[in-house]
């Protein structure tokens, strides 16, 4: 039987996956809706439009817009596919920057809804680490979700990575003001689940004002 920590972790994982899928389906639906309207517009121009001789350029512009939407959708599908495969194994060697980049891509919609910017500032030459990538994404998601709930619009969240004393460090830098109702809770209030996850990742978390710092070993011992 699962202990409480394990149960809380599973619930959080389900919520995480649910949120990612909700964002993904919403975004996909938007791309499809734009493609549908663009294709419809070409049809309308042929059936209803007045002939002016400028049609070929207008058609090309719409076709270009369709191609753009398909490219954006393909990127999103690629991120979701990579995200799904992070759960294939509990322990593997992975690039932290790529893992976080994927998370940013899948959470950007939620940040945009709140008018909060989600930015990356990665050190490019950090070593790959051997650990549980899905659990790292869950931990970072949990912190980001708390901040996205608590922060007022026009704030920003910056994900920074670096190598420090042989550890890979992921920093969440918070810039902005908290909503009044949330101001008492900043930053990172649900300590138990954080502790449970970081123990499994073999790392440490330091929380300061406007900064959450997660340190991870290159090799999980």
């Amino acid at each position: 039987m699962e202990n409480k920590g394990e149960r809380d972790l599973r619930l959080l994982q389900l919520r995480f996956i649910g949120k990612i899928l909700a964002g993904f389906t919403h975004e996909s639906k938007n791309y499809i809706a734009i493609v549908k309207e663009s294709a419809g517009l070409i049809g309308d121009m042929i059936q209803l439009g007045k002939k002016s001789g400028d049609e070929p350029d207008a058609y090309l512009e719409i076709i270009h817009s369709i191609e753009e939407q398909i490219e954006k959708a393909t990127d999103l599908f690629r991120y979701l596919n990579r995200f799904s495969h992070r759960m294939d194994t509990e322990l593997c060697t992975f690039n932290v920057n790529e893992t976080l980049e994927e998370l940013i891509a899948l959470l950007t919609r939620f940040a945009n809804q709140k008018k909060i910017s989600l930015e990356k500032d990665f050190q490019q030459d950090i070593p790959s680490i051997t650990n549980n990538p899905s659990l790292l994404q869950l931990l970072v998601f949990h912190f980001l979700e708390e901040q996205l709930t608590g922060l007022d619009k026009n704030s920003s969240l910056i994900l920074n990575t670096s190598l420090s004393n042989g550890l890979v460090v992921v920093k969440i830098m918070i810039k902005g003001n908290y909503l009044e109702a949330e101001s008492e809770k900043k930053p990172g209030t649900d300590n138990k689940i954080h502790v449970y996850i970081i123990d499994q990742l073999g790392g440490t978390i330091i929380k300061e004002n406007d900064l959450i710092s997660i340190s991870l070993p290159v090799l999980l011992s």
Partner: protein, 156 residues
């Protein structure tokens, strides 16, 4: 001598007053490409169409020029579509709002009805259905305006 009396009934309903080119529509959607493309399609159907890309911008536009029908997305940055709907119905009770969303739940649909929304459509919607709903919404607006003015006339 026989006198014939002809009674000509003047139907003071919206039917005779409706001209599609007079219908002013505001499309509110944060997806600019979607809003612009949809606006172009509706313009090709002889509707007068404006666009706004968030709730705040929409309310400013409505102050500048009142619209007959609003096509409104729900999930937008900043002001949520439900708040926009509430604000529109408070300020312009006869203006009709069609919600067009990619992410609507049954609870959202109920809430839209409760707040006085005219119709609830899922994205991507069929353009003919949307056009039909816009015309029906306009008719509703005209009917409401007429019955309000008739009520005012009768009470003078």
């Amino acid at each position: 001598m026989t006198t014939y009396r002809f009674v000509v009934k003047v139907n003071k309903s919206s039917e005779g007053l409706m001209k599609q080119k007079d219908i002013r529509v505001l499309v509110i959607d944060d997806e600019k490409d979607f809003a612009n493309t949809l606006a172009q399609r509706l313009k090709l159907r002889n509707l007068k169409v404006n666009t706004a890309y968030d709730g705040e911008q929409a309310l400013i536009k409505l102050k500048g020029e009142e619209q007959d029908v609003v096509v409104l997305d729900l999930k937008m940055p900043g002001m949520h579509g439900m708040e926009v709907l509430q604000e529109i119905k408070k300020t312009y009770p006869n203006m009709q709002v069609i919600v067009l969303t990619g992410h609507g739940t049954e609870a959202d649909e109920e809430e839209v009805k409760r707040l006085g929304g005219f119709s609830f459509l899922n994205k991507p919607a069929d353009i003919d259905t949307l056009e039909y709903k816009i015309k029906a919404a306009f008719k509703e607006k005209v009917d409401r305006t007429l019955s309000a003015s008739t009520f005012a006339d009768n009470n003078q």
